[in-house]
């Protein structure tokens, strides 16, 4: 039962910091490969797309349109370009959560991955805030009264922290409970009983957390891009 990430072997040193080959790294590269493969296949098929969609084209168009409409309805007007970005983030988190089904250790059960995803949202929130609100961006930190400045600052910092910990905690909880169950069961029962747990922790909680991560990122970014 190993709940923490194992260091398989030393890869190289980066400015004196040892970089290890971990389960997370392997799973992330596999997921990246799958996503890039999907993108390349879609790009090749794009040439043969027709006016009236059918089959493969139908699926792709439905996915892209659903995500675009969802982004527009959540973020309001002026959300151009965020649809594809959030589609990518959503697909990555979804595949990362589902990868537990294929015997990989979910990369999202590693604080480094969720922290990186949350930092992306953090950077987007503040760059967009500065670009859209200009002076109002700084004014918002002193909004009801200058006394509230530390509270507002902590509130801004807690956004990415809570985003990262929510995804990490939920997926790690699933990993731990499943690890305990797998350790408890005799070998013959390991095929039947954990299926239900996989259905709940990987499929249900995984898709829910991916959805929640994207929708919360959208709301945070949309909050900062309103000009008042």
């Amino acid at each position: 039962m190993d709940f923490l990430i194992e260091n398989h072997r030393l890869l190289f040193h980066l400015w004196g910091i040892p970089i290890y080959l971990t389960d997370t790294l392997i799973a992330t590269w596999i997921i990246m490969g799958a996503l890039i493969l999907l993108a390349v296949v879609v790009r090749i098929q794009l040439r043969r797309f027709q006016e009236v969609p059918g089959g493969f084209q139908n699926i792709i168009e439905t996915m892209v349109e659903t995500m675009d409409n969802f982004t527009k309805s959540t973020m309001g007007p002026g959300s151009d370009g965020f649809g594809p970005y959030f589609f990518g983030v959503f697909l990555f988190i979804l595949l990362a959560n589902y990868s537990g089904l294929f015997g990989l250790r979910q990369p999202t059960a590693d604080l480094a991955v969720t922290g990186a995803l949350a930092m992306m949202t953090f950077v987007l929130i503040h760059f967009r805030g500065i670009r859209m609100q200009k002076k109002g961006y700084i004014k918002e930190y002193f909004s009801p009264h200058p006394v509230f400045f530390p509270i507002n600052l902590v509130g801004e910092i807690s956004k990415p922290v809570s985003l990262a910990f929510r995804l990490f905690g939920n997926m790690l909880g699933g990993v731990i409970i499943m690890g305990l169950i797998y350790g408890m069961l005799p070998l013959a029962l390991r095929i039947v009983l954990p299926d239900l747990l996989h259905a709940y922790f990987d499929v249900f909680a995984g898709s829910l957390q991916a959805f929640i991560f994207t929708i919360l990122s959208m709301t945070f970014i949309a909050q900062k891009s309103t000009t008042e």
């Binding site: 910990f165 929510r166 990490f168 790690l172």
Partner: protein, 82 residues
């Protein structure tokens, strides 16, 4: 008694107490789900927007119990006191 084993035992105990943070978020999520069910009963056509609003609210309410879980894990696996 050995100091180290005392610290370890108390850490295990406090990790169990950290799990109690699930109490509040469980109550909150239950209230949110109940209110959402009421809202759907009153306005069945707004079901989709009510569902997504409820999910986001429930996720935010869950944060504090996830913090409890993380603290319990730190106490059990990466104990800073020992």
């Amino acid at each position: 008694m050995d100091g180290r084993s005392f610290i370890l035992g108390m850490s295990a105990l406090s990790a169990g107490i950290c799990t109690l943070s699930g109490l509040g978020s469980g109550l909150g999520q239950g209230i949110a789900a109940g209110k959402a069910a009421e809202a759907v009963g009153r306005q069945p056509e707004a079901r989709n927007s009510i569902l997504s609003t409820m999910l986001v609210g429930a996720a935010v309410a869950e944060t504090c119990s996830v913090y409890g879980l993380v603290i319990a894990l730190i106490l059990l696996m990466a104990n800073p006191l020992v």
